[in-house]
Amino acid sequence: MSSRFRASCLAAAVLVAVLVACDREERRSRSKPIGENVPAGATPDTIYAGGGPGPALDPRAALYDNNAPAIADGQQLYMRMNCVGCHSHGGGGMGPALMDDEWRYGGRIDQVASTIAEGRPNGMPAWRGRLTDDQIWKLAAYVRTLSGQPSKDSVASRADAMSAGAPQTLTPREPAHTSDSAQQ
């Protein structure tokens, strides 16, 4: 009797320890520090004169890429800031498709954030000063889910749009060509 009691105490202790340690990801209500800028000029892959590597990935990218609350917030912003009006639910329209594998200006999260912040010459509006950097990073994180880039445990498992298509956990992962293959 006492050994069973001890065993159940141990099990309870283990359960409590596991639950307490369970920390899926940190949900930040605002970025730190406040008011920082999205990186400017994160260029698409190009030739870097003189050899040598291109610029390293911005460290803030890791805070938003594969981050479920950021992606969820980004989804709401995508609808409300009218990204859906030009890019639909990834298929495109006035703007190019975001769910395919062609990225005129790069498909890495910092490149997408830079595109949103700065605008692009063929009609992508510039949002710097209209959206906070935190919102821009979140949008970039969501835009990448349209082509299936982030890990499947950070995307929504239910399609929330009116057209109720397949959930994003089923979106196939497109190769992200950061080259300019789409540019014609």
């Binding site: 329209g93 006035m94 749009a161 009116m162």
Partner: protein, 600 residues
């Protein structure tokens, strides 16, 4: 060939009347002053002020059309949707392309029609980001030795037709607000009439007149807001009570909503020189989500008649009050005179976007008949006493819900692509579509320079499964005479000729000639890209009849090809992608001029 005189048309009509199998039944003819005798040129997109798109040339007939062959071609160097007709005047052919809106002049007197000059207006590239439905241009117009056209970023430019040098350039639109200009201007009585685009971007719609000589603004009328902005004054006498009242452009909207209410003028303008009136329609109100704009939303989705000199409104008819389905009313108004009680009545013939074929008295705006020419389940009809469209309540989109199987879909039973009218047969040749849609409405957020829509749309083929249909419509007997079902939507305009042949193009590139009376397919030619542009017919310097069309798929219907959109998202391109998922396998982008003629 002898010059075609007015008496010739009358005689020909009389001959046909007596010899037609239908007996001595009269039919509609073109309005005499608005459709002068054909001089073999093509000087404005609608051919004439009556917008008949009818060539009186007779060399090509049903008997010999199968011998049509290529005379020459020309690559415009662009690969977006090509909606403009070539213009032909003075032995020169003029082409205006989609963005970047190059203007080419081809010398028809030389073999192979080489380019004489090219004018490059250099419009702002950012304008491509606020153009809802491909970066198209619906054509230029020739007047008094100048070619006048609009650029995507909102400029109107007059170019000397001989030298290709700019004469004047006026900026009318502001892309920062989401305004573009895609329409073909009309020159009437010394005024260049221009309207803006952007009903999906929350712009405030307007139409303006520039002085033809200098390009300076003569008058500008908005389509929402107080009466003084809409140029509604003492001359304004709408026929129906629903269009009468003071400042309806404010009162029929929630407060301030009219400032971003759409009602642009991106379509076709006709002109009656006898009455001095221009006729044109206004676009949908913004946003598409109707819950955000209770009220009739004047002066959207309706037809204005305005005095061409002052812009003062004379009458207005709203075909879709409180529009629910993006049924812009910008379609062409064909000016015709119909037999009426022993005399003749001046009317407008309008294949409407909402699926009804309207015959309206063009002096007063009275609707004489409104008959469905496509399948409609979203409206029960038009009450001719009050003039009001009778909606079907179950099909009304509501915020937060999806309403299914709405017919016709947002592009309507027919979108911008104009029909042709033959005064010989009295029929209206309508290339149009058969699509239905599911529409989900949600709250639209207004941010200037971005879309203001609030709807997820998915379109698909209507009853019968064919997405396109070519109808020959008798406006007097109010029924179709023949109908040709097409697999793909028909997004090209039609051309009618006195020789008895009607031309149109399909979205997979077939340029077709059919018999004007029976609809029998007589000849077809596979061009390199889908056809959405206006075919024309002209008399070349050698006196022969030529047929010309530019093949370059795109526009709203062809955006999946010209914009390289992804078919896996059914809501892409405002729902059109779902209806034409097979288009990329049937055609590719292009921009090639094809000119056909009979062998010598």
């Amino acid at each position: 060939m002898a010059r075609v005189g007015r008496s010739w048309i009358a005689a020909w009509s009389a001959f046909l009347l007596c010899s037609s199998p239908a007996g001595a039944q009269p039919h509609a003819i073109s309005a005499p002053r608005a459709a002068p005798p054909d001089n073999g040129n093509w000087e404005m997109p609608g051919k004439n002020y009556a917008s008949t798109r009818f060539s009186a040339m007779r060399q090509v007939t049903p008997a010999n059309v199968r011998k049509l062959g290529i005379a020459f071609t020309f690559s415009t160097g662009t690969n977006r949707g090509f909606e403009a007709p070539p213009l032909v005047v003075g032995g020169t052919m003029y082409l205006v392309t989609p963005f970047p809106n190059y203007l080419y002049a081809l010398d028809l007197t030389k073999p192979g029609a080489p380019a004489k000059w090219t004018f490059k207006p250099k419009p702002a590239a950012a304008a491509q980001g606020v153009a809802c439905c491909d970066v198209v241009n619906r054509g230029a117009v020739h007047s008094k030795g100048r070619i006048i056209f609009n650029t995507l970023d909102g400029q109107t430019i007059a170019v000397d037709a001989k030298s290709g040098r700019q004469v004047w350039r006026t900026r009318l639109g502001n892309i920062q607000k989401g305004e573009t200009i895609t329409m073909a201007p009309l020159v009437a009585n010394g005024k260049v009439i221009v309207g803006n685009s952007g009903g999906e971007m929350g712009v405030r719609g307007w139409i303006a007149a520039l002085d033809e000589g200098s390009g300076r603004l003569a008058w500008k009328a908005f389509h929402t807001g107080p009466d003084r902005d809409v140029l509604i004054g003492s001359r304004f006498k709408p026929f129906y009570a629903m269009d009468r009242g003071k400042d309806l452009g404010v009162k029929s909207w929630p407060p301030e909503a009219w400032k971003i209410g759409g009602a642009t003028a991106w379509g076709w303008i006709s002109y009656d020189p006898a009455l001095g009136l221009i006729y044109y329609g206004t676009s949908n109100p913004g946003p598409w989500n109707p819950d955000q704009r209770p009220g009739d939303n004047k002066w959207s989705t309706g037809i204005f008649a305005r005095d061409v000199n002052t812009g003062q409104a004379v009458w207005f008819y709203q075909s879709s009050p409180h529009d629910l389905f993006d049924h812009d009313d910008i379609n062409e108004s064909i000016l015709a005179d119909i037999p009426w009680r022993g005399g003749r009545r001046p009317v407008l013939l309008r294949p409407g976007r909402n699926g009804f074929f309207y015959v309206m008295d063009r002096r007063t705006g009275q609707v004489l008949s409104a008959t469905p020419y496509g399948y409609i389940n979203s409206a029960k009809g038009v009450d001719l006493r009050s003039g009001r469209l009778i909606p079907v309540k179950e099909k009304e989109p509501r915020q937060g819900r999806v309403t299914r199987n709405i017919c016709p879909a947002a592009p309507g039973a027919k979108d911008w692509n104009p029909a042709a009218f033959s005064p010989v047969t009295g029929l209206v040749y309508i290339p149009h579509i058969n699509l239905c849609m599911d529409m989900g409405a949600m709250e639209a957020n207004y941010i200037a320079g971005t879309p203001y829509v609030g709807a997820d749309v998915k379109m698909y083929a209507g009853p019968g499964g064919n997405r396109g249909v070519f109808t020959a419509w008798d406006p007097l007997r109010r029924r179709k005479v023949f109908e040709i079902k097409e697999d793909l939507p028909l997004w090209s305009p039609a051309l009618a000729t006195a020789g008895g042949v009607v031309f149109y193009g399909t979205m997979d590139g077939w340029f077709k000639a059919i018999d004007a009376r029976s609809g029998k397919l007589l000849w077809r030619f596979k061009t390199g890209s889908g056809i959405i542009g206006q075919p024309i017919s002209y008399r070349g310097p050698d006196g022969r009849q030529y047929i010309a069309v530019v093949a370059g798929v795109g526009g709203w219907a062809g955006a999946i090809v010209s914009g390289k959109l992804d078919p896996r998202d059914p809501t892409a391109a405002l729902g059109f992608v779902n209806a034409v998922k097979d288009l990329p396998s049937k055609t590719t982008a292009g921009g090639m001029l094809y000119v056909f003629a009979l062998p010598r």
